[in-house]
Amino acid sequence: MAEHIVTKKQYSYVFGALLLLTFVTTSVGMMDLGRLNVIVALVIAVIKALLVVLFFMHIYWSTKLNKLVVVAGVAWLALLLWLTLTDVLSRGWLPFPGK
């Protein structure tokens, strides 16, 4: 694996983007947009996370194996949330026991 060297200039672009996104998400957070608040905040958080993972953490230039590990970590977290919510959100859908 050839080591990819990222310059400080490239890092500073990423940093600028992160700072901007933090500012945007905070400003949006002060407004009441109803359901949109959650969506905007989470989408921005995911974008920020992607920036950090891809560039600060070099996954963009990394081996497939390392990419796979990242995907696995996120996938397993999704699994935990998804199947737990399967239960929590569907309680009381019918007058069955278990509400």
């Binding site: 700072l19 905070t26 109803g34 608040n37």
Partner: protein
């Protein structure tokens, strides 16, 4: 070559394999960390979906500006950490030490901000288990919010503290000249850890400070 064999441990065939293995191992550890925080994120999601109004009320007791500032501070420390890795890869020893120093400084600043937030909440009687006197809207579920808040930010803060320790050791080693352009894996791995700490906060910030504010109904 002599330089290599110093850093090469016996179980590996060559430096490349060793470096690869170390980074790969660190990524697996970070996947573990994702799941470690994941258990708490799961609790948060369940309670947030069950008691949105109480979470909205509780969320308004957090200082949004303080949260945003601490986010920026942590992101900056992540940036300087990335620069430190860059300096290490080019063999700029002084820059490496300096960037590590700045990273540690901002990590500490983050902790100071967070502790001041905690102190404020303690004084307001919003710290379950120590001083919880909140009696307004739906105190039970508001208490749940703060339980999760302190559990998650507490776990995160402990990671920040450990990170400061690791970075201090790295800075010391870098100052002693342990790293060069052909051997800086420990710096890179510590960097990965530090960015992960940043990542967690990138999610904690919106979950606690932003998305529930307007839910109070």
């Amino acid at each position: 070559m002599a330089n290599h064999s110093l850093a090469l441990r016996h179980q590996f065939d060559d430096v490349e394999q060793q470096k690869d293995a170390s980074t790969f191992g660190m990524w697996i550890f970070l996947a573990t960390e994702v799941l470690f925080f994941g258990g708490m994120f799961c609790c948060y999601t369940v309670y947030r979906s069950a008691y949105p109004a109480a979470f909205g009320h509780a969320s308004n007791h957090l200082d949004l500006i303080l949260g945003a500032v601490s986010t920026a501070v942590l992101i900056f420390s992540s940036f300087t950490m990335a620069c430190a890795v860059n300096s290490a890869s080019t063999g700029a020893r002084n820059a490496l030490v300096a960037f590590l120093g700045i990273t540690i400084l901002f990590a500490a600043a983050f902790l100071v901000i967070e502790m001041s937030e905690w102190r404020m909440l303690y004084k307001e009687g919003l710290m379950p288990g120590f001083n919880f006197t909140y009696k307004e809207f739906d105190p039970g579920h508001v208490q749940l919010f703060f339980c999760m808040y302190f559990a998650m930010t507490g776990l995160h803060a402990s990671h920040v503290t450990i990170g400061i320790g690791i970075l201090a050791i790295m800075a010391f080693r870098a100052w002693r000249g342990a790293f060069g352009p052909d051997y800086f894996t420990p710096i890179e791995i510590s960097g990965l850890y530090w960015h992960f700490v940043d990542l967690v906060w990138i999610f904690l910030f919106p979950l606690y400070y932003l998305i529930a504010r307007h839910l109070q109904g």
